[in-house]
């Protein structure tokens, strides 16, 4: 199922603050889209608006080309998984999963055997075949999460909306469920929208990331594009550790303000600019007068270095052989792979 959102604006109740500010977004049939951003960015509000929860809004929201208003919930074919799972504690796992079928009007409702069959099928799908008679309180967080998902899937929705579904799980379970969810999405041919504040999670599971900040969409792009060409410094910083170097562009070269940072050629007009790059994209060069100090342990195969550059000190990550080649006394930083920003927008991205 596809979703088209055009200039959607929502105000906070009793306040002039906008929770969503002129949001436009298209989600194609079969897409796996992640809404990412810091808390308060409007991700959950956007998700709830797509689901048709919550009150009035300005703009249009079309699901499969039709507006949801006035259509009964069961015709909308939307599955929703809440952050706190919202399982019915007084029902067994099986009854929770069957809920969407149990409440169908009699003439549409499958008979008991068919419902039991569907529940068994879903329990198999979420890999908890033995837990149909358990109550939610007897399950672990990861199990509850999967039950909530099975409950949302029971009525065969075309659109699956997930609100921070992995928030309360430990890292190992998170990673497992993430992969499993991606597999499920592909297997069932769903359209999935996932809300998360964890960029790693979003990058791993989604085809496309929609980065939000203060109720607006800052960037909507495939995962790899976000890292190579972030639209704003915020996106750059949100997606991982980033270092900033102030400077200016003069006649096709970026001149950093810091001492012992090498200039590099750029195709940009003259003026002030800020270079952003990841700590591991910086290289050490054996010239100049910078002082590097190794500190901390290993980070994967890389070592953490503290480099004194005259007025300030930056932390970078390098491979050990780099230290070997460049030494740690009298070094400079090569920031050729930086993305350049001017006035909060991407100017040029150099390197590869």
């Amino acid at each position: 199922m596809s979703v088209q959102i055009q200039s959607l604006t929502r105000h906070a109740p009793n306040a002039s603050r906008k929770m969503l500010d002129d949001v436009s977004l298209t989600i194609e049939d079969g897409a796996f889209v992640a809404l990412v951003g810091p808390s308060g960015a409007g991700k959950t509000t956007l998700l709830r608006t797509i689901a048709g929860l919550d009150g009035p809004y300005e703009g249009t929201v079309l699901v499969d080309g039709r507006t949801l208003a006035g259509r009964p919930m069961r015709e909308r074919r939307i599955g929703f998984v809440f952050q706190n799972y919202a399982l019915f504690r007084h029902m067994t796992v099986a009854r929770n999963i069957a809920f969407g079928l149990d409440v169908l009007p009699r003439r549409e409702r499958p008979d008991r055997r068919a419902i039991a069959g569907r529940v068994a099928e879903l329990l198999e799908l979420i890999q908890l075949p033995m837990l149909g008679d358990a109550y939610p309180d007897q399950l672990s967080g990861g199990q509850r999460q999967r039950v909530a998902l099975a409950r949302a899937l029971a009525t065969k929705p075309g659109l699956l909306l997930l609100d921070e579904p992995f928030g309360a799980l430990d890292p190992i379970v998170r990673r497992q469920i993430r992969r499993w969810l991606r597999g499920l999405h592909d297997q069932l041919g769903l359209t999935t929208v996932l809300v998360t504040h964890d960029h790693d999670e979003a990058l791993e599971v989604a085809d496309r990331l929609v980065v939000m900040q203060n109720g607006r969409i800052v960037q909507d792009a495939p995962a790899e594009m976000l890292d190579t060409a972030p639209a704003t410094p915020f996106v750059m910083e949100f997606l991982g550790e980033a270092l900033a170097f102030q400077g200016r562009v003069v006649q096709g070269s970026f001149l950093p303000d810091d001492a012992n940072v090498l200039r590099f050629p750029v195709a940009a007009t003259d003026g002030p600019a800020t270079a952003y790059l990841r700590p591991h994209e910086i290289r050490l060069v054996a010239e100049g007068s910078g002082q590097a100090t190794v500190f901390g342990g290993w980070l994967g195969a890389m070592r953490r270095l503290e480099v004194a550059l005259g007025k300030r000190t930056v932390e970078i990550l390098v491979l050990p052989e780099q230290i070997h080649h460049a030494g740690i006394e009298g070094v400079s930083l090569d920031i050729t792979r930086a993305r350049l920003f001017r006035d909060g927008a991407l100017l040029v991205w150099k390197g590869g």
């Binding site: 689901a51 929860l53 009964p72 919930m73 069961r74 939307i78 599955g79 929703f80 809440f82 952050q83 706190n84 919202a86 019915f88 504690r89 007084h90 029902m91 067994t92 809920f99 969407g100 149990d102 409440v103 169908l104 109550y135 939610p136 309180d137 007897q138 409950r151 949302a152 029971a154 009525t155």
Partner: protein, 281 residues
């Protein structure tokens, strides 16, 4: 440095507190109850036999229990509605209503009784209206039920309110998103978690109503075999200097109440399935 870690109880000095509590419970609750249980048998079983053959006592017990049960039952939906309005509706007078609900706790029961008797009496504001419709409330068992409803209502409201407040709004939204109609959502999603506090509130209200005296006697008319409640009969016996008879009725009242409460407790366990952690009970 090495710390010697000891598992601590949540409350400091728990064992001392428990010992202290047990002694006080013994002095305040168990001792008088033991006296109550023993007193009727002091002069042999004759008194007990006499009381057990007293039709007036059975009538009084029947009035007491049936009126208490009926009043508490009517209070359940009323209390649920009130609690709902307090928690969900953002009405302007909410705080005032919130304070008013506890009033039956604070009011001297005699004041309640006299007020209700005046209101529902043949010339009272409500009583006159009802009289025109041919309904008599004051000086009938219906009057007892009205008085007991007044006394029992806060128990239901206060039992349900915190649970209702604690229900995550996502539960209702989940129900609606899964296609439940508003009625199905209430019946299948919201009501079940409220049943344990409703039953608990019912049992508190019921217990209080069985023992209620002051607010009832002014409105009940107190005709033996018709609108005389068991607590009043005990007072009548005391005024006749029939102390054994009074304690015997009290003992039977106590045992009947105990049976009822046990039944209600069993019902509460039944409706709590899945809602309380297993193994704890």
């Amino acid at each position: 440095m090495v710390f010697c870690l000891r598992r601590r109880d949540g409350l400091p000095g728990l064992s001392i507190s428990i010992a202290f509590t047990l002694v006080w419970i013994g002095l305040i609750v168990v001792l008088p109850l033991t006296a109550l249980v023993l007193r009727p048998w002091q002069d042999g079983g004759a008194v007990m036999l006499r009381v057990l053959h007293d039709g007036r006592m059975y009538a009084a017990l029947r009035v007491s229990f049936s009126c208490a049960a009926l009043a508490a039952l009517i209070d359940v939906p009323l209390g649920l509605l009130l609690a709902w309005a307090l928690v969900r509706a953002r009405l302007p007078g909410r705080r005032a209503v919130d304070a008013l609900i506890d009033l039956p706790f604070a009011l001297p029961t005699a004041v309640t009784g006299i007020t209700l008797a005046t209101l529902y009496g043949p010339t009272g504001w409500i009583g006159a209206l009802l009289a025109r419709a041919g309904i008599r409330v004051a000086y009938t068992p219906a009057g007892i039920v009205v008085a007991l409803m007044f006394v029992g209502l806060p128990f239901i409201v206060r039992a349900v309110e915190p649970v209702l407040r604690g229900l995550p709004p996502e539960l209702e939204e989940a129900g609606l998103l899964l296609g439940a109609s508003p009625w199905q959502n209430f019946r299948r999603v919201i009501l079940p978690p409220l049943l344990p506090p409703l039953v608990a509130g019912f049992s508190l209200a019921f217990a209080r109503c069985i023992g209620e005296y002051g607010s009832v006697i002014f409105i009940a008319g107190n005709q033996p075999f018709h609108s005389e409640i068991a607590p009043l009969l005990i007072v009548v016996r005391l005024q006749e200097y029939d102390y054994e008879g009074a304690t015997a009725i009290a003992l039977i009242l106590l045992l009947s109440a105990l049976m009822c409460m046990t039944g209600v407790a069993a019902l509460r366990r039944r409706v709590s399935r899945g809602l309380v952690a297993r193994g704890a009970a």
